[in-house]
Each structure stands twice: as structure tokens, then as C-alpha cells.
């Protein structure tokens, strides 16, 4: 990616992020969001992050690649989060699982 394209991407996301955060505080103060939009916004976080996680873990330039080691490490991370509700602990356990299985395989 060229420097100018990268700068455009960062600046557009930065300005738009600020506008989203400021939108209803300064720009549209007093405007209420339609209930259907409000409902959809509630699901943007979980849906986007879940899709992003799958794409980063298993997607690539040349299609879908599911490696069993990464799949197991991801499942272990999920189980630890559900059990302990600690992001840091789950990350450490997932990375140790990944290293251990890579070493054993």
C-alpha cells in the first residue's frame, strides 16, 4: 500500500470515527435515532468482530484455510473467556496452546 493511500485510509477513518462519536452530542443534539436503526446498531459490535476474527484467523489471499492447530487454540481461548471472563488470561492460554501444538505437530 502506498504512503498516500495509507494516509487517506487513516485520515478518513479518523475523521469519520470522530464524527460518529460527536454526531448526537454536537451535530444532531436533540435528534432521536429510529428504533430499527438503534436495534441494528446494538448488533454491529458482536457481528463485525466475530466476522473479522474468522477472516483474520482463516482467510487469506488464496482462499479459506482452516488449520486445526489455530482452530483448537481459538476454541480454547473461547472456553477460557466464557469460564473466567478474563481477556488477558484467555490470550495467554491460547498462545501457549498454539505454541505447544505447533511444537508437538
Amino acid at each position: 500500500m502506498s504512503t498516500s493511500a495509507a494516509l487517506v485510509a487513516v485520515l478518513v477513518v479518523a475523521v469519520s470515527t470522530y464524527l460518529m462519536r460527536a454526531s448526537l452530542i454536537v451535530l444532531l443534539a436533540g435528534v432521536t435515532i429510529p428504533p430499527s436503526v438503534e436495534r441494528a446498531l446494538r448488533y454491529v459490535g458482536p457481528a463485525t468482530l466475530a466476522a473479522l476474527a474468522m477472516n483474520l484467523a482463516f482467510g487469506g489471499e488464496d482462499g479459506l484455510h482452516i488449520h486445526w492447530i489455530e482452530l483448537v487454540a481459538l476454541l480454547v481461548a473461547g472456553a477460557v473467556v466464557v469460564w473466567r471472563r478474563q481477556l488477558v488470561v484467555s490470550m495467554v492460554v491460547a498462545m501457549i496452546t498454539l505454541w505447544l501444538l505447533t511444537w508437538l505437530a
Binding site: A9, A22, Y43, A47, L49, A51, L74, L87
Partner: protein, 254 residues
């Protein structure tokens, strides 16, 4: 400008102490996250200094990671749209804070949104729900403003330090550690921690399943397809079953 009582220096110190006592423990889970963002900057197809600019300019970890890691793999517009979709939830934060912000001076209403990250929103709204008699933040606009600025300033400066540290140390870490795998692990963890209602779980599961099925699409388009499917499924689930609780909601959280 709103008429309001100014704080005495003793009250200011009390608000500062409360803000830091609240903010420091909440930053602990963000430490490895910030570090990974820094490491990702060194591995990005973007020039490293441009990737670093995401910390002071975008100041939103998940979106920064999306932009930094997708650069070079998705089209320019794909990178921008992914970065923005991740941040759409901030519209909800703005909606929730619009009313208390109306009692604030204009300069603060313009500046505060820049610092409006997940943790700042969580702490400020938690303090605003307290009784004005026991919590100065709920009772006085000046105290709310000071609390917000201390919490936001703490997160902003700490985030810059930690992500820069990751950027400096990143190149020394051997490739065999596969540290880039920590990024999807973090995203999965953030989803599972945030989900406490049935429709949210439906949105996450459908988003993940469709995201996985379309992970082979060119330019990482699968992210947007998965996100759109998850949002539609979550909305449909809420319409069908209402917001059925899966477990007690977290206080604070990441």
C-alpha cells in the same frame, strides 16, 4: 456557556482520585491489546509511521487493528469501510451521552467525543447512574467534565505509550511466536465477554459462521458480508424473542 458552580481544589483532587482509581484497573486488560496493536503496526503493509498515526488519530483499538492488518490485503475502500463499521457502535455511545452533555460548555461538547472510547463510556455512564448526593460526577457538570477529562486523558496517553512500545519491541520478537494470531483471539474474547443477551449471541454466531464461510472472498469482503448477516440475524432474533438475557450483565468490563 452553562452556569455552574466551580470546584474547590479539594473537590478537584477528590474527582481526580476517583477517576484514576476507576481507570487504572480498566486499562490492565487493554495493555496486551495495545501491545499487539503496536506489533501489528510493524507487520502492516502501511508505512510504520502511518500505522502509528492510528493511535493518536483514530484512538480505537479494534478499528485500528482492522485498518492496520487489512492494509495491503483489501482495497482502499475495503480497509476504510471495515474500520468504520467496527466503530459504528460509537453512535450509540453518543446517543446515550447526548443529554448530560447538553449541560456542558460548547468547547467540551466538541472535544469530549474524541476521547469517547468503550472504557470511557462505560465508566462515565456508570458514574452518571449514581445518586447525585453520593457521586459528585452525577451531581455537578464541572465534576463530570473533570472526571471525563482525567479518565479520557489517562486512557489516551497510556494507549500511546503501550502501542508505541509494541511497535518498538515488535521487530525483535521472532516470527515463530506467531504473535499475529493474538489478534483474532482478542476479537473472539471481546465478543464473548460483551455478549450477554440472546440476540447478541445470534448476531455473533451468524457473523462468525458467515464470516468463516466467506473468508476466501477477495479483498477480505467476507468481513462485511459476515457483519451484515450477523446484524440482520441479531435484529431478527430481537424481533422474534425480545432481548432475552443469557447471564447477568458485566459491571464495567473491557
Amino acid at each position: 456557556m452553562t452556569n455552574e458552580a466551580t470546584l474547590t481544589s479539594e473537590q478537584k483532587r477528590a474527582v481526580d482520585r476517583m477517576a484514576l482509581r476507576d481507570a487504572v484497573p480498566m486499562f490492565v486488560p487493554a495493555l496486551p491489546f495495545g501491545f499487539i496493536v503496536g506489533v501489528a503496526m510493524t507487520q502492516s503493509a502501511m508505512p510504520t509511521w502511518v500505522a502509528w498515526l492510528t493511535s493518536p488519530l483514530i484512538f480505537a483499538g479494534a478499528s485500528q487493528l482492522g485498518v492496520i492488518t487489512l492494509a495491503g490485503h483489501a482495497t482502499l475502500w475495503g480497509v476504510i469501510v471495515a474500520g468504520l463499521v467496527i466503530n459504528l457502535r460509537h453512535v450509540m455511545y453518543a446517543a446515550a451521552l447526548a443529554q448530560p452533555m447538553q449541560r456542558q460548555p460548547r468547547w467540551f461538547r466538541w472535544f469530549a467525543p474524541f476521547l469517547l472510547i468503550d472504557q470511557v463510556f462505560a465508566l462515565v455512564t456508570l458514574r452518571l447512574t449514581e445518586s447525585p448526593d453520593t457521586s459528585p460526577v452525577a451531581g455537578s457538570p464541572a465534576a463530570l467534565r473533570r472526571y471525563y477529562l482525567v479518565v479520557g486523558g489517562f486512557f489516551f496517553s497510556s494507549w500511546l505509550v503501550v502501542s508505541t512500545l509494541g511497535m518498538v519491541i515488535g521487530p525483535v520478537i521472532p516470527d515463530s511466536w506467531q504473535l499475529e494470531f493474538a489478534i483474532p483471539v482478542l476479537f473472539v474474547g471481546m465478543v464473548l465477554i460483551a455478549v450477554d443477551k440472546l440476540p447478541q449471541a445470534v448476531a455473533a454466531v451468524v457473523g462468525a459462521a458467515v464470516g468463516l464461510a466467506t473468508a476466501g472472498l477477495q479483498d477480505r469482503l467476507g468481513i462485511l458480508v459476515g457483519a451484515a448477516a450477523g446484524i440482520a440475524a441479531g435484529s431478527a432474533a430481537e424481533a422474534a424473542w425480545g432481548e432475552r438475557q443469557l447471564r447477568a450483565p458485566l459491571e464495567g468490563g473491557h
